[in-house]
């Protein structure tokens, strides 16, 4: 428990130091672009694939579990939309990203730690917190963009699976999509997403930055980082949901 508090304290000190002494702008800018490429662009493929198919599965599952003729068919579209916007895209995708982006961040910073590259930067007088972590945080501010794509493709996947599989008609599904749309749900989803993005950028950085040991420990640190990032996302999710939706 004391260890845990120590970690939390060091984590916040890290965030503070990250904002202290800024790296030269043109250097920083190039780092940000590279992180956008690695963290955001590099994740589009996997997110699109997963969203499309999970959207399809969610829609089919809803359809076959609503065999009761009293239930209107347009509920399939409705359920798909709600699931995608409220939970699947923001939360589920973020946990997948904790595996992909998170372990990438931990292992790349961790490798720099064990090969003394971080020491080398520090000896030169670079604020390593700002140099290594800040560009990731900035890059992750456009993470909601990934989630928009995920929402869209998830719903489209649901539509595609239902219509081609003959579970609902085109008009039923679209009617369902338009049913009782609450714009605040989108706000809720994006507030969540933004908070998850900050978790995804900083907790894995922390695990990489403060790791000790050699190559083997880099692997272990990535695993630990995945666990803690997911836990933080899930706790943050229930916290935000309680705060905003109830």
């Amino acid at each position: 428990m004391i260890k845990f508090i120590e970690h939390v304290g060091r984590y916040f000190i890290m965030l503070q130091k990250m904002l202290e002494k800024f790296t030269k702008f043109d250097v920083l800018w190039r780092l940000i672009l590279r992180e956008i490429d690695d963290l955001i662009i590099g994740s589009l493929g996997i997110v699109s694939l997963i969203s499309f198919f999970v959207g399809g599965v969610v829609a089919i599952q809803t359809a076959i579990n609503m065999e009761n003729p009293l239930l209107p068919r347009y509920l399939v579209g409705f359920a798909t939309r709600q699931t995608m916007i409220l939970e699947f895209a923001p939360t589920f995708i973020s946990i997948i990203m904790a595996g992909k982006v998170g372990s990438f961040i931990t292992s790349s910073i961790g490798t720099m730690r064990v090969t003394e590259q971080i020491d080398a930067l520090e000896v030169m007088g670079v604020n390593t917190y700002n140099y290594l972590i800040f560009p990731k945080v900035v890059a992750m501010t456009i993470y909601p963009f990934i989630i928009v794509i995920s929402m869209f493709l998830g719903i489209f996947g649901g539509y595609f699976a239902c219509v081609t599989g003959g579970f609902t008609t085109h008009t039923d599904f679209i009617d369902g999509l338009q049913l009782d749309f609450v714009p605040f749900h989108l706000n809720y989803a994006f507030i969540k997403t933004f908070l998850f993005a900050m978790i995804l950028a900083t907790i894995p950085s922390y695990h990489g930055f403060f790791m000790k040991g050699g190559a083997l420990e880099v692997g272990k640190a990535s695993t630990t980082s995945f666990v803690w990032t997911s836990v933080a996302i899930i706790i943050m999710n229930s916290f935000v949901t309680n705060l905003l939706l109830t």
Binding site: K24, T115, E116, D119, A120, E122, M124, G125, V126
Partner: protein, 255 residues
Amino acid sequence: MIEVTKLSKKFDDTYVLKEVSTYFEKGKTNLIIGQSGSGKTVFLKCILGLFSPESGEIIYNKTPLSKMNSKERTKLRQDMGMVFQGSALFDSMNVEENIAFPMKMFTNTHIDEIRDRTNIVIKRVNLINANNKLPSEISGGMKKRVAIARAIIMHPNYLFCDEPNSGLDPNTAIIIDNLIQEITQEYQITTVINTHDMNSVMEIGEKIIFLESGEKKWEGTNKEIFNTDNKSISNFVYSSELFKKVRKIYAKENK
């Protein structure tokens, strides 16, 4: 000139350095020798300010490190070059970018001039046909050269090398040692080198400090080291058959 007074450092509850005092002069290659685990790297990292010592002081040209504010420290850091034990090149950058990094980072020098300076140091350390290669694509000896080039591009007043020739063949090791010594004299740098290589000791040991379990057990020059009757240093120096023979020859010559 760097002065170290009564430097102690502990990890958890064990002291890794115990009241080490010494000084390093400008234009000289100062060596820290000792067995693996004797505290050489920790000592160097304390001097650099990467570790903060429990007690003792490190004084750079009359200013104690602990009295410097963060601005002065940053300024001092830009006056230091460091060659790490594993070279510590940035693996996302090619050779040229690695070497130019400190200049791009801390100066507003025009890109053409940075390129000129980079090429000068690349020539100085005899790196041939490697400008666009990544660290993973070059040999250990070349990595050391890149690390040295990166360390000297800002014309530092202090150069630190952690086992600059570990993992190199004897020939390359001597070339790297001599390169460091030449650069030290040419630019009048205060150079501190960690090593456990007796060849380096003979070649470039203008001043030698011997560490054993974190304590300074001996201090002197490479001329003196073969004549001392200090027990711990004899054990270290004459641990190999080759150097036992060297001692005999030395003794004969000096009769």
